[in-house]
Amino acid sequence: MSGPLLKIAHLSKRFDGIVALSNVSLSVHPCEVVGLIGPNGAGKTTLFNAIFGFIRPESGEILFRDQNLVGKRPSQVARLGIARTFQDVRLIHHLTVLENVLLCFQDQPGERLAPLFFQQKWTRTVETANREKAMALLADVELTGHADECAEVLSYGQQKLLSIACCLAGHAELLLLDEPVAGVAPQMLERILGVIHALSHDGKTIIIIEHNMDVIMQTCGRIVFMAAGEKVAEGPPDAVRNDPRVVAAYLE
């Protein structure tokens, strides 16, 4: 595959007259790790929400493997192979850690009535296989020991790791990580970074929103800087970091 995996063209969105996204264009190629930076209110999370179908842009298009995502529901976008985490970590707190991962597998026969009642053997086989895969994913993020605990008892950093494991259960090719290391202890930060590096090594395409510049510099091959809903600068980490517009925006 040579073309971009994700191609955003001329995307605009307003909320009650406030410009949230203004003519944003961005291409992400397979296996790339792109950092999305900018001050609060720059439109970074809005861009994620637009890609995922949580909000509908007024104009522009979002192509994922040449399919237009605009107008699709979030569940449809997820099934196409995109997964995301949320800034304010979202998980199902009443389910166990393992069940949270199990929930996120796609096309489970046990979620449909006919197999659930009439093809119980198939349903069980798939569930058992998913359980094994889920345990492997938990091992990747070092949460195996917590598999049977309720998700709510995990520390904040562990919850962030679990939400990444949930994204992987769905076989997503493109991961949108919204502040994956914000608010976690330094040790946990290293652990989460390790996981992200491993993912990028495995060929996942990743877009990261993050305020921690060190993390962005270490992790991303390319940085996109947004301010007031517009893409202001884009390029290799060092170039963007020293861009006068970026410096100005951060010093303001």
Binding site: F86, R90, C104, L113, T123, E127
Partner: protein, 295 residues
């Protein structure tokens, strides 16, 4: 003895209603005020099939379930897409509409006069006219309701329901078509409730619109509040308590005019006490709470 059997049959009928409503209230976290609609549809469909079409009992069961499911889709598809708080209102509206239809369509429902003379259920040439036979039949329906509910809840399907209950955004972001799961659950709940109606119609042998009012929907919700929603035993316990306790009050020796009012007051006090001191009910896992945090 006959009286005890009567109470046991009523408990069975209300258990079917409570267990089926629990799928929507306890597992989806949506408060439906329209459960008596499907109870009524089941009863009227069974009565119509037996009296007007003169077809055997199993045909009545099948048509009651089918009709109820179809109506479940018609009611659920538009109203489950709106926000949770509004669902309470739309289900309330459905309940009002259904009551008017039961009350004002004499050709089919007999209007306010109801449909008398519904025969006892017949199966393979037997007529189940004794209370024991009806009790066994009710027990079977009750058991199948429990088994179906149990299978649904303890499965990947049930896992999605728990996720929807707690955080729709998370479920949606991980590829779960939420509206679809809500409608399927609502329709199954409607289909199961209709079985209670079938048993009721054939057992009492007379039905009229007053058996399927908003009060009846609220009674079933009360069973969930007291027994506990979200668990499998809770609705069952709620049905036993709310059918048996008022009957027990009969024997306290109050004059009959006073007794009916005392029973209402008793209900009210019980509900208030539960909401204040034990919102999750006797055996429930979740507090009874329609307005959850959903960003």
């Amino acid at each position: 003895m006959e009286y005890m059997l009567h109470i046991a049959i009523l408990i069975g009928i209300y258990s079917i209603l409570a267990v089926s409503l629990n799928l929507v209230v306890g597992h989806l976290g949506l408060v439906s005020l329209a459960h008596a609609v499907f109870y009524g549809i089941g009863a009227y469909a069974a009565a119509f099939v037996a009296l007007r079409l003169d077809l055997p009992f199993p045909c009545g069961v099948v048509s009651a379930i089918l009709l109820s499911c179809v109506l479940g889709v018609l009611v659920g598809a538009p109203s489950l897409r709106v926000r949770d708080e509004y669902f309470v209102i739309t289900s309330f509206a459905c309940q009002i509409i259904a009551f008017s239809v039961f009350n004002n369509w004499p050709q089919v429902t007999g209007g306010p006069l109801g449909l008398p003379g519904i025969p006892p259920p017949g199966l393979l040439g037997w007529s189940l006219s004794s209370k024991w036979a009806i009790l066994v039949l009710t027990g079977l329906f009750c058991l199948s309701t429990l088994l179906i509910a149990h299978r649904l809840v303890h499965s990947p399907f049930g896992r999605v329901l728990k996720a929807i209950r707690e955080d729709e955004v998370f479920a949606e972001a991980h590829g779960k078509a939420i509206a679809h799961f809500k409608i399927v659950t609502f329709v199954i709940s409607a289909g199961l409730a209709s079985m209670a109606g079938v048993v009721y119609a054939h057992y009492i042998s007379f039905i009229d619109p007053t058996s399927f009012t908003l009060m009846e929907s609220i009674l079933v919700i009360s069973m969930l509040i007291i027994g506990g929603s979200g668990s499998l035993g809770g609705p069952f316990l709620g049905a036993i308590l709310l059918v048996a306790l008022p009957e027990a009050l009969r024997f306290v020796g109050l004059p009959s005019g006073v007794a009916a009012n005392v029973r209402q007051v008793f209900y009210g006090i019980l509900l208030v006490l539960f909401m204040v001191f034990r919102p999750q009910g006797l055996l429930g896992q979740y507090a009874f709470d329609a307005a959850r945090d959903k960003a």
